[in-house]
């Protein structure tokens, strides 16, 4: 007793271009080349054009903020998916980066273009150092402890009234020009995106994934997993600190709100929407979520409801995220066949 609907099914066929071997491209034709390059170039060109087509001064700024979030989201995705450390402390990296760059700029007089890289590296080192004791923790325990770090820092600054207390640090220099400000973060997002994607495909990245899969076997292979985890945390926290440092110079102000939960939670939501484990997914997720949450600003607190609904819909209907969905559509034909 088959109904009409049961008599046909969707068939998926690979587009059949499998030219990627380990680190080598064996390209057969221009079509295949285009097939490989198209998605990357659309992303790069799209990101570079985006500020030009945005009206006014407000929307380009939103793009900058989205890029800041994108850096944090990539850092989350890298740690969670490739190292198995689910960090809820994105705000910690952002806060440390932004305070460091602010202090380097206002107290030592370093120009932003020097303060930002220094804050990135020093902040990464500092975050790694204080996270070192948590590295043996797993799963939920690591998540909870990292969630505490930014909250702790915010209360510490408030209670001790250090580095500007509740007022924050004002009078931070902005980037030398609006162009540098706009494109600096965009280029950084692209560099970190392609850099991280390359990294996870090296042997080093393979060891990190092995640590996530099965840390006992990595220990039995004569490798110090704490060292590998620490290196990965350094990479991730430096990425987050870079985001924070740029933020300080874009707003020309920093304060304890950089340690706020938003910087921990929104990147995770963006990763869910974009597709975890893809590194591109989180970037796309931020480019969608940040503008949407700006649009919903008029609704006041009600936007949290919209926001939750979007997230809920993604978790229920598209739990592998937009990227996985898009990739499937791109790599495979689909058609209905009778059975």
């Amino acid at each position: 007793m088959n109904t009409a609907a049961q008599q046909r099914r969707k068939e998926r066929i690979d587009r059949g271009i499998k030219v990627r071997t380990d680190g080598l491209y064996a390209l057969m034709s221009w079509r295949e080349l285009a097939y490989l390059i198209a998605p990357r170039s659309i992303l790069i060109v799209g990101l570079l054009i985006l500020p030009l087509v945005m009206p006014g001064r407000y929307w380009p700024r939103v793009i900058s903020i989205a890029c800041i979030y994108a850096l944090v989201a990539m850092s989350f995705d890298f740690l969670a998916h490739y190292v198995g450390l689910v960090s809820l402390g994105g705000a910690f990296f952002v806060g440390i980066g932004s305070y460091l760059s602010a202090i380097l700029n206002t107290s030592l007089g370093l120009p932003p273009l020097i303060a930002v890289p220094v804050a990135t590296l020093a902040g990464g080192a500092f975050c790694t150092l204080v996270l070192l004791p948590c590295l043996p923790l797993r799963g939920v325990y690591f998540a909870i402890v990292t969630l505490m770090y930014p909250l702790f820092m915010a209360r510490l600054i408030e209670a001790l009234d250090i580095v500007g207390g509740t007022d924050g640090i004002m009078g931070i220099d902005s980037f030398p020009s609006a162009w540098i400000e706009q494109y600096g973060v965009i280029v950084m997002v692209l560099i970190f995106l392609f850099g991280l994607r390359r990294l996870v495909n090296t042997d080093f990245g393979l060891v990190l994934r092995a640590v996530k899969d099965n840390d006992q076997a990595v220990k039995a292979s004569g490798m110090n997993i704490t060292r590998y985890k620490a290196l990965a945390v350094f990479i991730a926290s430096a990425t987050g600190c870079l985001a924070g440092a740029c933020l300080a110079h874009i707003y020309m102000w920093t304060g304890i709100s950089t340690f706020a939960l938003d910087f921990s939670i929104l990147p995770i939501a963006a990763t869910v929407i974009g597709g975890s484990g893809t590194l591109v997914g989180p970037v796309l997720g931020c480019l969608i979520l940040v503008p949407v949450s700006e649009l919903l600003r008029d609704f006041g607190t009600l936007r949290i409801v919209f926001y939750s609904l979007i997230l809920l819909a993604f978790v229920v209907f598209r739990s592998d995220g937009l990227m996985a969905y898009g990739q499937r559509k791109y790599d495979q034909f689909e058609r209905w066949t009778k059975i």
């Binding site: 380990d22 680190g23 080598l24 042997d203 080093f204 393979l206 060891v207 994934r209 092995a210 899969d213 099965n214 006992q216 076997a217 990595v218 220990k219 039995a220 292979s221 004569g222 490798m223 110090n224 997993i225």
Partner: protein, 262 residues
Amino acid sequence: MTGEPILQIKEVTKTFGGIIALNRVSFEVNRGEILGIIGPNGSGKTTIVNCITGFIKATSGHVYFHGKEITGKPPHKIADLGVTRTFQIMRPYYSLPAYKNLVIPLCSPRARRTGGWRGGGRLGDRNTVSIDIMEEIGFERDSYVPYKTTSTLPTGYLKRLELARCLALKPEMIICDEVFSGLSMSEIASMVPLIERLQMDGITLIMIEHRLRELFQVSNRIMVLNFGEKLVEGSAEEVMADPRVKEAYFGSEDIEEVMSHA
């Protein structure tokens, strides 16, 4: 054939809360030999492996490798010295292709130091080396098997992969925790020559087994554990003749099988 002791275990005790898993166990392993360890379930065999390789800390007692104390060192340091192990519950990287499992040990400081393998050049020398090792351990080079996702491989291959992980480190010693269990008779038969070849290559082995017949075939010496204590130690015949061993194994299939063939 066998030389001076290279691994010495002295009075090792391990308690888990109230359970005494190991009670003052002492023994030595000589260079180049195969020492078999047998004992009923729960007699502390895996626990002694964990104590030697640093995966758990002994409550008291000492372990010496080449006369130097290695008690309480972290697992990666002990593996770095050349004392490697397999896991009773296999621990491959399920999500990776099978051959990539070996790229990880090949990245370790020991594998890089002991040379032999030509480092990890840009075009993926480590991949080539890992395929070489897999061939050595019984994967067919030209089949698809080494390239399959590990989670799809049958037990026999996973056991071999455990051994291959040890081999990638160019070990001095391999401690095999039940590499024969879960395998069919024919699979075991194909593993035995492999073990013998490892010994000929100068690797010292400790083999923990429930498959007594195959174990007696390859091992030079047998030690029996029961309730965390060492019962006896000696040649296979000596051990099996001991009434205490018969008592410990009373009613168990392992011994009946061996006795029926003896």
